[in-house]
Symmetry: C2
Subunit: 306 residues, 2 copies
């Protein structure tokens, strides 16, 4: 059973599951696990690891349009090095400070592989779900895409300057303030942790509609430094993911007011359309593939498999 | 750096850390990680694992005297088997139901070793800390001790009936109701996850006092079935830990009223005394060792190293 099937099974059994975070009595809670081989490439500092791991959970809070309040983490490693642990806590604390939340600690555990489990909490009077997109809404994304994919290439290059830049790119600012500004206005929202393409498909599926997306996408300039060609650029920008931007749908008439309240760029990348985007065929089996189109061509429902 | 030193370092850096759970704006949050080799012996069902992992975090909520509200978990495994995952979710959901909390899901992750990270939330108007014990208070413990240590021996025996009993013993009921009844009355409290001896030392240290404990301790009858001798019985009952009972100090005059509100046995095991329990020496270096005594002899500050 792959992870998507397994998540579907969980969604069937648990009424609160199935969005970026669970909501209980106006409180948002989300948890995540990151570990060495897949999430922290060689060269990732413990400071960056703390920032990024806690930031990933704060991003899920942001994706609900919630106000982030606190985060905790379990730090599991084969051994506890004082400066590594202190760096981790500093990174975790500072990403919380960046979004006016409090890092309140957690626990330590011995584990063969460096593994971090994070949980973030938030308050949401009116959480934004994935399921409210309506035909005619603008499809938007905050910030730029592809930074984490580009960072991975820089980590692979391995020289000290590249590694330092890669660490900088890995320490993203969770879009909590943007999520707050979008709450009550965005009709559907999630974060782009699985990549823009997967996020668009998930929003379209949950909202039972299609998305017609047009280039150019807001791909970060750093991607152009590392991408081999146009296909590779699209791969890093739209499929790799882990950028933790917000992907949302906003009614046309609300767009200007939302933008006025945001301190981050909100790029309109397309329009919500009826179920089968850009396809006149309507044949079964094609529906999922044609749900999201980029410049009229199906955009594959495929992310980076972590 | 060992885990205790590392936890001390965290406590110095984070104001909210250092108790069973962190408290933020009247909300209690606690997180924990359990994994295959150390926490789930061969024979542990996924149902038991879900119950126990989530229960361990609920126990930390109980130890703050808080009302448990919700829990989440990350389930990380080399592969996702549908019935294993469903069993895990059932166990996690049922331990939450047992304490009137809601299991609201979490996340899945691929990991070489079966690893579970759990977080529980609660509400506490007046959280019970570890630091309020005063000389003269009764030292008390809920329920019985040694069940998890005995279960480990039964898992090691390995025949089906033993394994089934071991799984039953591993599925403890978190003492949330007892913690609620003790809130506002207990002067200090924590859970016995590190064993009675370590818990007593930690409470005594945080409260800057000593504990004079007298046998008999409320060791579970199952321990007598598996213990080799009296030393082994004490090892399983007082040091092994993982029983998730509440260890607390209660003013003498409140004891009868507290007991009347509890549906679980609350055994008085001793009395809070001035700093150096049962020792007239007062020499430096002996202080920590003599802080907690059992029948007048120092009770070692030693738990099971997980």
């Amino acid at each position: 059973m792959d992870e998507r099937t397994a998540l579907g099974l969980l969604g069937d059994r648990l009424s609160a599951a199935g969005d970026d975070a669970a909501v209980v009595d106006g409180q948002v809670v989300t948890t995540d696990m990151l570990h060495d081989r897949t999430d922290f490439p060689d060269g990732t500092t413990r400071y960056t690891a703390g920032w990024r791991a806690v930031g990933a959970s704060l991003s899920d809070v942001a994706a609900m349009g919630a106000d982030a309040t606190a985060a905790v983490a379990v730090y599991a490693a084969p051994a506890f090095d004082e400066s590594e642990l202190a760096d981790f806590v500093d990174g975790a604390s500072e990403v919380c400070e960046a979004v006016d939340a409090e890092y309140v600690g957690g626990d330590l555990d011995h584990h063969d592989e460096f593994t971090v489990a994070t949980t973030a909490l938030g308050d949401a009077d009116d959480p934004v779900r994935r399921s409210g997109a309506r035909p005619g809404d603008a499809v938007c994304v905050t910030g730029t895409l592809g930074r984490s994919g580009a960072a991975l290439r820089l980590f692979e290059r391995g020289d000290p300057a590249d590694i330092e830049r890669a660490n900088d790119l890995f320490r993203f600012e969770p879009r909590v303030a943007a999520g707050r500004a979008l709450a009550g206005r965005a009709t559907a929202m999630m974060d782009s942790s699985d990549g823009l393409a997967r996020s668009l498909h998930q929003l379209a599926e949950a909202s039972d509609c299609g998305f017609a997306v047009e280039s150019p996408l807001p791909v970060d300039p750093v991607v152009d430094e590392v991408a081999a060609d146009a296909d590779d650029r699209l791969e890093l920008g739209a499929h790799f993911g882990e950028d933790f931007e917000l992907v949302c749908t906003v009614p046309e008439e609300a767009l200007a007011a939302v933008r006025a309240d945001l301190s981050v760029e909100l790029t309109r990348v397309g329009t919500v359309v009826e179920r089968e985007a850009g396809s006149a065929s309507g044949r079964r089996g094609e529906a999922a593939e044609t749900r999201v189109t980029l410049d009229g061509e199906p955009l594959a429902d495929r992310g980076y498999t972590h």
